[in-house]
């Protein structure tokens, strides 16, 4: 791919990335979505808004995050690995970039209340944080299963002043939390903004969340160029809904020589049927307002996903990733629970960094890619979140505690 490519400009005015994306939503939400799209277009063109957002990210969220050359991990991997340290952001993940932006937009359009969905709890914590910071009332929807296994993050959200609603319908996990948040929104849209947690959902959420997380890639691109005077050979990120990955990829889409690789949650292996590898193991369909790849049965009913990482445990994926996969610009490969945990262990032992299990999937993908590209290659990996929240899961996985897991959280990519 050496010939000049047209400059990437997705989605179109109606939120379509090729055949993907769009707006498959109740008519009641179309006008509010239009209003949101308009407000976001205006806000991002308003220097006062962007200056305020930049200031908040810098002073409050600890952005830009550093780029770190992981020497000992690189040695073990057999290629040079650079880590984008999103785990050092306030609240411990890339999520804060998205949420601060959406909460600031809510203030701008005069909505005093915010709702959010969360699976692993990390987007809920980021939302509760941003709402406390910006004085918004906050309600977070969380599947009952997740509230039970992630009690610590429920407590964090409550400390931060949010109301946490336990969702008992459906599979009682993230997808049902999204359904419930949408139901709330239909009834409360005059006063309420929906802080969507990932680059999925109906237009304008996929492109708005991308705009808010693209700082990851923009910063990393600049940082790699300063360090090396050249671009990396590959950029790697984990993909659940896909917000940290799209944030990283966007800066490199027009750089045809930079390979973009998304790592999906392979669970017990895609062939086992117990996984969350939506692009690798799913089909095209419509879920939560957009056409994209999703895990579904032959009647179009959504299938349950599975991953050791609660944050990747989502049966859908953002539509732009489906587009990038379909056009071949990015590739998506699964890493199993076991591969992710092996990479998790390696980063802990070689670098003294405990990653989120989500991010460990990206590390596992980088280890595979290192074998393929060899010692001269530079691989940029988005370390999307820190692993404090995953300590119990990991400890149990590695047999370091006798008690059953009571706390387990994720970044909810």
């Amino acid at each position: 791919m050496t010939q000049a490519q047209p400059i990437y400009s997705q989605p179109d005015a109606t939120g379509h990335f090729g055949q993907f994306g769009g707006r498959f939503m109740p008519e009641a939400l179309v006008a509010p979505l239009d209003e949101l799209a308009r407000a976001w277009t205006e806000a991002k063109a308003d220097p006062a808004f962007t200056a305020e957002l930049d200031r908040m990210l810098r002073e409050y969220a600890n952005v830009p995050s550093p780029l770190y050359e992981a020497h000992r991990f690189s040695e073990a991997a057999g290629a040079r690995i650079l880590l984008k340290r999103e785990d050092l952001n306030h609240t411990g993940a890339h999520k804060i970039r998205n949420v601060i932006g959406q909460a600031l937009l809510a203030k701008r359009i005069g909505k005093p209340r915010a709702i959010a969905e969360t699976g692993a709890g990390q987007h809920g914590v980021a939302s509760a944080t941003a709402c406390a910071y910006l004085d918004l009332e906050c309600t977070v929807y969380m599947g009952e299963v997740d509230t039970e296994r992630q009690a610590l993050n429920v407590a964090r959200m409550k400390m931060l002043g949010a109301e946490v609603v336990s969702v008992t319908s459906g599979s009682r996990t993230l997808k049902d939390a999204i359904n419930e948040a949408l139901r709330d929104w239909v009834a409360s849209v005059d006063t309420t903004s929906y802080l969507f947690g990932t680059a999925a959902g109906p237009h304008p959420f996929p492109s708005m969340v991308r705009d808010l997380t693209r700082g990851i890639g923009d910063e990393a691109r600049r940082q790699v160029l300063e360090l090396d005077g050249r671009l990396p050979d590959a950029a790697v990120a984990c993909v659940g809904g896909g917000s940290n990955a799209i944030g990283l990829f966007t800066a490199f889409i027009d750089d045809a020589d930079v390979r973009l690789v998304g790592i999906e949650a392979g669970g017990d292996g895609v062939a086992s049927g117990r996984h969350a590898a939506t692009i690798t193991g799913g089909d095209v369909g419509v879920l939560h307002g957009a056409r994209s790849f999703l895990l579904q049965d032959e009647d179009g009913q959504t299938l349950d996903s599975h991953s050791i990482s609660a944050g990747l445990d989502y049966p859908g994926v953002g539509p732009e990733h489906s587009f990038l996969a379909d056009t071949g610009r990015a590739s998506y490969v699964p890493a199993t629970d076991a591969e992710a945990m092996s990479a998790f262990d390696l980063l802990c032992k070689t670098e003294g960094i405990i990653p989120a299990i989500e991010s460990a999937h990206a590390l596992a993908g980088a280890l595979d890619l290192a074998k393929e590209l060899g010692p001269d290659a530079t691989i940029l990996v988005n370390l999307s979140g820190r692993g404090d929240k995953d300590v119990h899961t990991a400890a149990e996985y590695f047999g370091l505690i006798d008690e059953p897991v009571v706390l387990e959280q994720g970044v909810e990519e």
Partner: protein, 271 residues
Amino acid sequence: MTSASPASPVDELFERTRSQGRAALVGYLPAGFPTKETSIRAIEAMVEGGVDLVEIGLPYSDPVMDGPVIQAAAEQALAAGSRTTDVFDVVRATAATGVPTVVMTYWNPVERYGVERFAADLAGAGGSGLITPDLIPDEAGPWIEASGTHDLDRIFLVAPSSTDERLAMTVDAASGFVYATAVMGVTGAREQTSSLGEELVARVRAVSDKPVGVGLGVSNGAQAHEIAAYADAVIVGSALVRCLLDAPDETAGIEAVRALARDLRAGVERN
């Protein structure tokens, strides 16, 4: 868009009820809840009770427009093994009662089945059209084409939040009737009907003479009567589903459906 299609069974129904000076009664029940056979018997009872048009729900795993009652029914139907093809069996049995029959479905099951194939099978089973709560005309190109080919009505939703421009566009794309969601919120019986309904119907009337059905929240004859004063159809769902959900046994549930349908029918006929 196709034009000059023959009058559909839904069109004929509204011609008749308008000439009788009353609103039509539309009743919703999901296919396959609690079982396929019982859902058919419940729908037959609903028709015997006086429902003019039947709306059959296709159970879906992620029904974002529905409240807890209809969602619980959908979950039970799916857990009992209800499949897309079962819906056509229920449509066939319902259409045999002589009332116009439409399916209400979220979009993914249709897309997965194949839009053209779904339209063909629905028409083949005697169905008259489709209500699509998460498919707006903006995204409905393939459905508009397939429904035209098979003379099926496409019943789109309008909401109190719809702008004038969207309202006009949606009404223009609709056929059979326009489904006006009278409250901002999900399905479920409410103690008081909303004043938003009357206003919304007036807005539709300003741009079209297509029949307007009002739904979301109606649970008894008195509420049905109130809405019948300004709408062409009163749509009742959750309250009927609840009859089956809350009943001690299936026979009692079916009787409760019949009784509620009678009450609702009396409501729409009262002057």
